[in-house]
Subunit: 139 residues, 3 copies
């Protein structure tokens, strides 16, 4: 069994954004030399997500609006977590809806994807350096 580890770092200038990281994961997979296995991609921070969906800007605006409705940023005093001095209580909730990680099959040295599957980093509390872990195991 082979394994390969890589870390991506993102400093998003806004509080929230969705970034397509599919190309970066494909590069890590090519580096690994693994042909058959599983590829884990996860946010290493707890106010961010890694998820798979469509690379369509209208959909990303829909996600943004919907997550704000499910877990609004304001008023920050609505979250007990924010009594610790943080203002990111909402980001911890949004991240649970969108998920921490994806596991992708590796087949014939490629990410084994359907036609529209793309991997995104979802930032809900940006403006500082945050990391994504890629771990691939297989042969």
């Amino acid at each position: 069994m082979k394994s390969h580890r890589e870390v991506l770092t993102f400093t998003i200038p806004a509080r929230r954004a969705f970034i397509n990281i599919t190309g970066r994961v494909e590069e890590a997979l090519a580096q690994s030399g693994i042909r058959e296995g599983l590829c884990l991609v996860n946010a290493m921070h707890i106010t961010a997500s890694v998820f798979i969906n469509d690379d369509e800007p209208g959909l990303h605006q829909d996600y943004e609006q919907w997550l704000e409705k499910l877990a609004p940023h304001e008023p920050v005093s609505a979250y007990r977590h924010n009594r610790t001095g943080e203002d990111n209580g909402d980001a911890h909730l949004k991240r649970q809806v969108m998920g921490r990680e994806v596991v992708v099959a590796v087949t014939g040295g490629k990410l084994d994807f359907g036609p529209w599957e793309q991997i995104f980093y979802g930032e809900f509390d940006g403006r500082r350096a945050k990391r994504v872990l890629i771990k691939i195991i297989g042969e």
Copy 2:
């Protein structure tokens, strides 16, 4: 390390449905000959889910109603994604709540499940052929 790949195809006549696919995953596992490892099952389309819960029809109606409340299909004009000519904006949101994939432990050649765990395909934009990927790695 061994690996095994299988694809299931579903053409659901309705827009939405939940289909128990546990038996199909068990068949793939038996085919693989893998005794110890991990089994990934994921929707290959971005308006569908694979998830684990109870095979109880009342619960599935509860999920249907709840998801419609969290992300209603109508009015379709409420989703920017639908300006692309689609009417499935809601399906992309529902899929995030229910999840893209499950990873199941394989122990002694069986899916290592609790008493009520069953694997479901969740369709949120049916009426066309869509695929589920099974990838098993182990020994």
Copy 3:
């Protein structure tokens, strides 16, 4: 390839609670002797979650309140599932928001975590013995 399996049992005296199980997963990993691989941790019951987030009591109260708003326990008659004689319809919904499982990279014999990542068992229908499965594969 090596594999290691362990089961944790929890009997939570209340209906709902969040329990930090990171130390228990670290012990299982140490027992396994695995240095590079993947670690799956999942609830074996369908009204409970395993998820990764922050060990901060205010945040856990925020989760509790938010989940009650998204899928209230009362009135129990609002859930068709409860016509089977259960009163845990809400718990099946809450578990979908928080997730069934996490997959964690194993690197150098350790859980490969960001600074705040901790693994939690989320109970939504307690007061009886329920299980969490740990399955680690690698080398």
